[in-house]
């Protein structure tokens, strides 16, 4: 970064399938209030606001940042709205970081949310558009063929997806904010209904209501804050088109390019050994081994071996998604910022019961579209 940028406050809602007690504004405000409290700040201290969420039809409010301006303390401040599909939460946090790195803004409030219960996500995301081949199977049906291709390419055994899901659930059990927290075994995952073969019911993400807010600040403000900041060492978003002939949808080049770029900027040569925890965007269990490869944590076709060895579990070599991840909490637009925010909490040492020991460097990751949008942030305990 041209100028150091830090996360100095993190706030999130308890995520659940339906927040019937609050409207969209009030739900988002819970996360904002907690982030400001965490940072020891008030709205007056904030110079600008960066808001991200997934498609507007999920709540049926167009550009909701305009309606939310008053609720977010944005009155007479700059606010912008980012939308980069599923990656948006992480990209929004990185956009906030860019604002701080520019030197123009000292402290930024950044927010991501989704209140999926207001509408019907299945309808909002894949209705039958005119002249477009209908998406005949929903999001799972879109991604499942790539999971199948991964299995075919890598020779991964069939239980890997269930192992990922069970581990994620075990982790979510330690995260008071997670949506799904009931214990679940590998066998239960394996015996759950096959929805979109090879993806089973317990290997898919839920539909959640929730929000997360972060306060990001420059070095001066970060050092004067009440808590130990999480420093952003590097962050980037890379994107690729859908219909490039020969595009590798299993391990997209945009993801590999993005990972290499941030590792170079952060001075990381060996991510497997230099990063202590990773929050990666896994909406369907098989994406965990796929992204382990895409992110350079494992050689090509060997991501599943990490899972099979258990090296991704808490207390092992590289805990993946100690928060429980997207598999257990998925307010779509917020999911990417939750990864980024959880990575920040880990390097701050404030992740509570799901804290990983001795974290110096953490990775937050999100992807979106047809595995086209990639967004990665590297957070560190020391500048």
């Amino acid at each position: 970064m041209k100028r150091p940028v830090a996360v100095v406050g993190v706030g999130q809602t308890h995520h659940t399938s339906k927040r019937a007690d609050v409207n969209v504004a009030e739900m988002v405000r819970e996360a904002v209030d907690r982030a400001l409290l965490d940072a020891g700040l008030e709205h007056d201290d904030i110079d600008a606001i960066v808001l991200g969420k997934a498609p507007d039809p999920l709540e049926g409010i167009m550009q909701p940042e305009q309606y939310l301006a008053g609720a977010l303390g944005a009155h007479l401040k700059p606010i912008i709205r980012v939308h980069t599909a599923g990656s948006v939460g992480c990209t929004t946090a990185l956009t906030a970081a860019t604002h701080v790195a520019s030197g123009l803004y000292g402290r930024i409030l950044t927010i991501a949310f989704e209140k999926q219960s207001e509408g019907n996500a299945m309808w909002a995301l894949s209705p039958n558009y005119a002249f477009t081949q209908p998406m005949v199977a929903g999001a799972g049906g879109f991604f499942a063929p790539y999971c199948r291709a991964y299995i075919a390419r890598s020779g991964a055994p069939g239980h890997i997806g269930a192992v990922v899901a069970a581990n994620a659930r075990e982790n979510a059990g330690r995260n008071e904010y997670a949506h799904l927290r009931d214990p679940m075994t590998v066998e239960e995952a394996l015996n759950s209904m096959m929805l979109w073969e090879p993806i089973r019911f317990l290997e898919t993400c839920p539909s959640s209501d929730g929000a997360i807010a972060l306060v990001m600040a420059n070095e001066d403000h970060a050092r004067r804050g009440p808590r130990k900041p999480a420093w952003l060492k590097a962050g980037a978003t890379f994107t690729e088109p859908m219909y490039v002939p020969g595009r590798d949808q299993v391990s997209p080049l945009a993801g590999r390019t993005c990972a290499k770029w941030v590792y170079d900027k952060a001075g990381i040569r060996d991510p497997w050994n230099e990063i202590q925890v990773a929050e990666i965007y896994v909406p369907f269990s098989w994406y965990e081994p796929m992204w382990l490869e895409n992110l350079g944590f494992a050689p090509l076709n060997e991501g599943w071996k990490v899972v099979d060895r258990g090296d991704q579990k808490m207390g092992r070599h590289l805990p993946i998604n100690p928060s429980g991840g997207v598999l257990n909490t998925n307010p779509i637009g917020a999911s990417g910022m939750l990864r980024f925010g959880e990575a920040a909490l880990q390097v701050m040492g404030r992740a509570g019961e799901h804290q990983v020991g001795g974290v110096k460097t953490a990775l937050g990751h999100a992807y979106g579209g047809g595995a086209q949008y990639f967004s990665i942030g590297i957070l560190a305990a020391e500048l």
Binding site: A25, D44, A71, G119, P127
Partner: protein, 156 residues
Amino acid sequence: MKTFPKPATIEPMSQRMNVEFPYKRSTGEVVGRFLAGLRDQKKIWGLRVSRQGVVVPPQSYSEVDAKAGGEWVEVAETGVVTAVAEVTRPIEGLHPSSEPFAFVLVKLDGADTALAHVVLDRLDRLRVGSRVRATWAPDGERRGTIRDIEAFEIVD
């Protein structure tokens, strides 16, 4: 080798369709009680919040400084028009009337902000500054929405 015909030679292909989405919006405490006041009490409530005074219709926070909370204040069903937009050709499926009507902002007596609503009659006499009074949907037909106030009518 065949190349694509020029646009002028191709009959455009188009399709009209209505994109329909149902939503069930959670109101929250303040909006929900305000709407219940319209439905159950035929009363209009405002919330006194930080740096805005009595806001009608209320949110659970100040839109000026984002501070939460406030105290309920009942305001009058009469007030003064602060802005008028006279719709001569209503838009089907969007506007609340199929006859010419006016959108208005009304600052109710006792309120510090103005409420957006409609005036349906005597549009020729409607001005910024006109005094108006709320008219209500009949008992049993109020559903707990802002349209429980049917409209505002000019007070002579």
